[in-house]
């Protein structure tokens, strides 16, 4: 509270860090899903070091990483909306953004602005999903899924 930092920035690492567990656990699950015979192939042909990461490990966990990232970004969003308006005793820290907008409107009881805020939020989610996550997910599924 004392340093008067910009809450737009300093609240961000907080919520990003808080959701990385999704990715971590998904990646662990992915790494353990590599079939034994594939590991043997890598050992048999002495695929080690950077080549191993590039050709074996990273591609194998990519679909799992994407799944984790989708979940994590969802979680981050959720946290972001809530965290944009944080209270510390009587002090209110407020960032600029959709979450703050909705929270403010709710406090003020302004029905039209709540609808506008929530509508925008839903639109954001759908657009981001369609344009970014979904193509990425299908790409990872198609090319990197272990069968």
């Amino acid at each position: 509270m004392t340093w008067k930092l910009n809450p737009d920035i300093y609240l961000s690492p907080l919520m990003i860090l808080g959701t990385q567990w999704y990715i971590l656990f998904n990646v662990i699950a992915g790494a353990s899903a590599i079939p034994t015979e594939m590991r043997y192939v890598a050992a048999n042909f002495k695929v080690t070091g950077w080549l191993w990461w590039r050709k074996v490990a990273l591609p194998a966990v990519l679909p799992f990483y994407v799944t984790g990232a989708i979940t994590a970004s969802g979680g981050s969003w959720n946290a972001a909306i809530v965290a944009e308006l944080a209270s510390w005793g009587d002090t209110q820290v407020q960032a600029r953004g959709l979450g703050a907008y909705i929270a403010e409107a709710t406090t003020a009881g302004d029905f039209h602005r709540i609808v506008l805020g929530i509508g925008m939020m839903s639109l954001f989610v759908v657009v981001i999903n369609r344009l970014f996550w979904r193509p990425l997910y299908y790409y990872a599924e198609r090319k990197y899924r272990l069968t």
């Binding site: 079939p35 043997y40 048999n44 042909f45 002495k46 695929v47 080549l51 050709k55 591609p59 090319k143």
Partner: protein, 434 residues
């Protein structure tokens, strides 16, 4: 024929620690030598340790005792001159055919132009021309395994290890691949000097190998060594080919006589409560009895003949035949299966009569089934927990085997309606919903 020795295994033994501190012996007294220009087959059923031996040779795991030497050097980790082909192909789905093949050379940090030249040569050799840019998912099983071969051959190994390379393929594709492989081998067009082939298919072993080591299980060991001197290309219908196949069947179905002193219990003879029971469904049991009782066998069938008639691999057929033998529905000896009187009666009976016969045999010849039935009979509640029997079994076998054995007995008892089992509560009981 006795040219340079490529590989030697001397008195190799492999065991794994069990959770209770004891050790599980999977391989014992393995002595093997691979000479230049030979294909050696390791033939045995699943669980006979042949794949374990292959992994030791590949340097993917280490023997508990004994030595594996390659060109005079002890193997400690994957050796450069040994490449392997896998049953499941094990191709990387995100790499194209070319990239999959080139991987082994990239690992050797070869110049790019050289990698390209050699990879294309290997792809060409194995008949994958035109498929370089395809992904594995676009290929049929046969083509995928060709990639597996090309990937192994491209590193110019001295020894090629093959772990049941054809068993995941359909009959026709497998035969094409075998013939293509033998042609290349015979013409000396592959950069390899010796081959070790793991298989559970007797005919495949006789078709391809110069020497066959027959493996026995519990623990895995070499039962005998057979030299195959038939000239290539071999004909499956040739009488001497059939004779050899037949004699290996006889060998593999022979009852173990005078098992290793102090050794573990063999599967069926001297059956006690503590014997591991195989997972064989009653459908398979009655199916085989029906097949053997019907024409043209009329009660006695040659195992190789009935295996090919029913399109069963020995891995599938043997457990069924042995279970029939254990239940005294059949005799297996000298490569033949012969139904007993009750076996014939079962084959010709209707459902209810079959269940009666099966129940009688189950309770007479499977001590565990009789034991469970007795416990249930004696108790006033006519029920007992599964854990009670599991504990008893674990004195004789591993946790996993105990669970499997109990599962097998439940399966048979359900068919015979000898007792019931409720998996939800893990309870045995006598009540039969009527």
């Amino acid at each position: 024929m006795n040219t340079t020795s490529l590989l030697q295994c001397a008195d190799v033994r492999k065991s794994f620690p069990k959770p209770d501190g004891a050790e599980l012996l999977v391989l014992e007294g393995m002595n093997l030598e691979l000479h230049e220009g030979q294909i050696v087959g390791l033939l045995g059923r699943s669980g006979s340790g042949k794949s374990t031996l292959l992994r030791l040779i590949a340097g993917l795991s280490e023997p508990t005792s004994g030595n594996v030497t390659y060109m005079g050097q002890p193997i400690d980790g994957p050796a450069a001159g040994i490449a392997m082909v896998f049953q499941s192909f094990a191709l990387f789905p995100w790499l194209t055919v070319f990239e999959n093949v080139a991987l082994g050379l990239e690992a050797q940090r070869m110049p790019r132009a050289e990698i390209r030249k050699r990879s294309l040569a290997a792809i060409d050799l194995i008949g994958l021309d035109g498929f370089e840019s395809a992904y594995p998912r676009e290929l049929s099983g046969g083509m995928r395994q060709r990639v597996g071969f090309a990937r192994a051959l491209v590193v110019h190994p001295n020894i090629l290890l093959m772990d049941e390379p054809f068993s995941a393929l359909d009959v026709l594709t497998a035969e094409t691949l075998r013939t293509d492989f033998l042609d290349l081998w015979g013409e000396g067009r592959m950069p390899i000097k010796g081959v070790i082939l793991v298989t559970h298919n007797i005919e495949e072993a006789v078709l391809m190998c110069d020497r066959i080591l027959v493996f026995g299980s519990n623990p895995g060991r070499i039962l005998s060594e057979i030299k195959v001197t038939l000239p290539q290309p071999r004909n499956r219908l040739d009488p001497s080919f059939r004779e050899l196949v037949e004699s290996i069947y006889v060998e593999m179905t022979a009852r173990p006589k005078g098992t290793v002193a102090g050794g573990r219990q063999e599967r069926f003879p001297g059956l006690g409560i503590g014997s591991v029971l195989p997972q064989v469904s009653t459908n398979l049991l009655s199916g085989l009895m029906e097949a053997v009782s019907a024409k043209p066998f009329n009660g006695t069938a040659d195992l190789p003949k009935i295996a090919s008639d029913l399109q069963m691999e020995i891995d599938e057929l043997f457990p069924v035949a042995e279970t029939l033998q254990m239940l005294r529905f059949a005799e297996v000896e000298g490569g033949d299966i012969k139904l007993t009187e009750d076996g014939m009666a079962f084959a010709h009976a209707a459902v209810d009569e079959r269940k009666r016969i099966f129940m009688r045999h189950l309770l007479s010849y499977v001590p565990l089934a009789a034991h469970i039935r007795r416990v249930l009979d004696e108790r006033a509640s006519h029920s007992a927990r599964k854990s009670r029997f599991i504990d008893e079994l674990e004195d004789f076998m591993s946790e996993e085997a105990a669970d499997q054995t109990l599962r097998a007995v439940v399966r048979w008892a359900r068919y015979a309606e000898a007792f019931a089992y409720d998996d939800e509560n893990a309870m045995f009981s006598l009540e039969n919903p009527t």
